[in-house]
Amino acid sequence: MVFAAMGLIVWTVWPWLPSQKSSKPQTLVLYGFAILQDVIAKEIFPAFQKKWHKETGRRVELVGSFAGSGTVTNQLIMGVPAQLAILSTELDVKRLQKAGVVGTEFRKKLPCQGIVNGTPFVIVVRPGNPKNIHDFSDLTRPGIRIVHPDPLTSGAANWSIVAEYGAALRRPGATVGAGKNLLRGIWQNVAVQAGSARAARTQFEQGFGDALITYEQDVLPQDKAASPRKLEIIYPRSTIFSEHTLVVINKHIAKEERQMIQSFVDFLWSEEGQRIFVKNGFRSVDQRLNAGNRKFGHVEDLFTIKDFGGWDKAKKDIIDQIWKTGVLKELKR
């Protein structure tokens, strides 16, 4: 038993023994919102590592942490040593600016104002669509149980609320109150709330609920998946196109790291980087590349946050005023 204990101790400290300390690689710390985990950790990071090694002969170690966009934002405000972050909504970027984590100037230096990729919001149902759901309005029927991410911590949840509200208003012949009515109907049926879109999907896959509102990207069938997901995607007539923003936290970037991090940022918008996103179900900022994924569905009327005056206005008018102090209060939630 003594030998077993000794063996365990040696195994435990092995990587930190002096003989194992080869040249220390540079590191890049990236925090991302939940659905980015697979594409960043398994595809973007390794591709960049290879590219950087080829160009400079140096090793770079990439450290990532992923959670709901709001959670990541809170961690950043608390001071985690992130150098880059990719957030789901611009709302979270604004919170960082308000907390003094980042300034406003970094976005001007980035392509597309910092937007890395996007994806439309969809409804996910059980195979065969047993509840006959075809649009957001069908979710208001009594007895439908909805899995929805939590707006407090999840960017997806905020996108979803604007998607639901907007879809109702953009229906031909819609009245002024249509958006609020639809929100009320949907939130009456919300049975489970999860901390992030990814956690909501996990809950849905565990068998909770009849419908889930989430990113198209997170529920597209993956080529490599051992077992195809047992769910069906419903494309609403109109829905929002979410756009995800890169944040550069300059105060955490040392001088000697600047070049490597700039190179990584460039890689995200390079054709190779964008193709990786497309392959993994994100829509590229470069429209030509989007033909590269045949699984993308068609949305008749795709709108963006700009159609509702940008996130500042949408947050105040739709999320806070109509949803939070209106719908939630009326439903006594």
Binding site: V63, Q75, V80, R198, R201
Partner: protein
């Protein structure tokens, strides 16, 4: 006739255990079993594969080191606290004893948050340390601080009853022979604490190995840097990789089973004395 009676006797002696099993089945045993079922879902090959990724190997090593360090620190601190509380008299002694036991009752998330608010970049100590380039939060030091806090009462709780029961005559004898407090402690008190120390350390180790709530707050959950095994499990579960999560969970349960077996062995040996 005699045979029947022995069978009856056997049944009646097994009944309570059988009933206990029946009650525990849905509460504890089946949930535990499901960890192993999911871990083995993809076959043994898949299990080994998901246990040998860089992330998992780091997380397990990191967890073991933190647990070991926590046990070491708390073995010293806890014994000292137990000694002071048990062998000295001062006003507020009882209250201090209660306060030092509080960490088991406070939600661990709160512990994490308060550590962040004290040591973090926006915290009281954190702001003072920042100019010196010191930043304990989101590093292994932060994780260690959290674990020391959360597991402190276990060592204290194991040692203090032993000290309370320890006959004072031996100590008094030592004093009359001219030994000072330190000598008495090392030659008289400490030997009596041996198995209590071991049990307490293992208990601390086991709890540190499974600590989650405080760690997720103070670690930043960075893979290959501050991600402990429970954090890895949580991240994988959040990401929907249930098999990967349960593989590590199964391994952790196994380690804990071994640890607690050792604890019970020593506790039993101790009580026989």
């Amino acid at each position: 006739m005699k045979q029947i009676r022995t069978i009856q006797h056997k049944i009646s002696s097994w009944l309570p255990a059988g009933f206990l099993l029946l009650v525990m089945l849905p509460l504890i045993l089946l949930p535990l079993a499901s960890v192993f079922i999911y871990a083995f879902k993809g076959g043994l090959g898949n299990l080994v594969l998901s246990l040998t990724t860089d992330d998992v190997l780091f997380a397990i090593r990191f967890s073991l080191i933190i647990a070991f360090a926590t046990a070491l620190v708390n073995a010293a601190l806890g014994t000292y606290a137990a000694y002071v509380l048990s062998k000295t008299r001062f006003p507020g002694r009882t209250q201090l004893g209660i306060i030092l036991n509080l960490p088991v009752a406070i939600p661990n998330v709160v512990v994490g948050t308060s550590l962040l608010l004290l040591w973090g970049p926006i915290g009281l100590f954190g702001q003072a340390l920042e100019p010196m380039g010191l930043q304990p939060m989101f590093t292994p030091v932060g994780v260690l601080l959290a674990h020391i806090f959360v597991t402190f009462p276990y060592m204290l709780g194991t040692i203090k009853p032993v000290l309370d029961d320890l006959e004072t005559t031996y100590e008094e004898a030592a004093y009359t022979m001219g030994a000072n407090r330190l000598q008495t402690f090392f030659h008289v008190v400490l030997p009596a604490l041996k198995s209590g120390l071991l049990t307490g350390s293992l208990l601390t180790f086991a709890h540190s190995l499974g600590e989650f709530g405080a760690t997720i707050m103070v670690s930043g959950n960075l893979r290959l840097r501050t991600q402990t095994a429970p954090l890895y499990i949580f991240s994988q579960f959040e990401a929907g990789n249930i098999q990967a999560a349960n593989s590590v969970a199964a391994l952790l349960s196994l380690i804990s089973f071994v640890l607690f077996s050792i604890i019970i062995y020593f506790a039993a040996r101790n009580s026989r004395k």
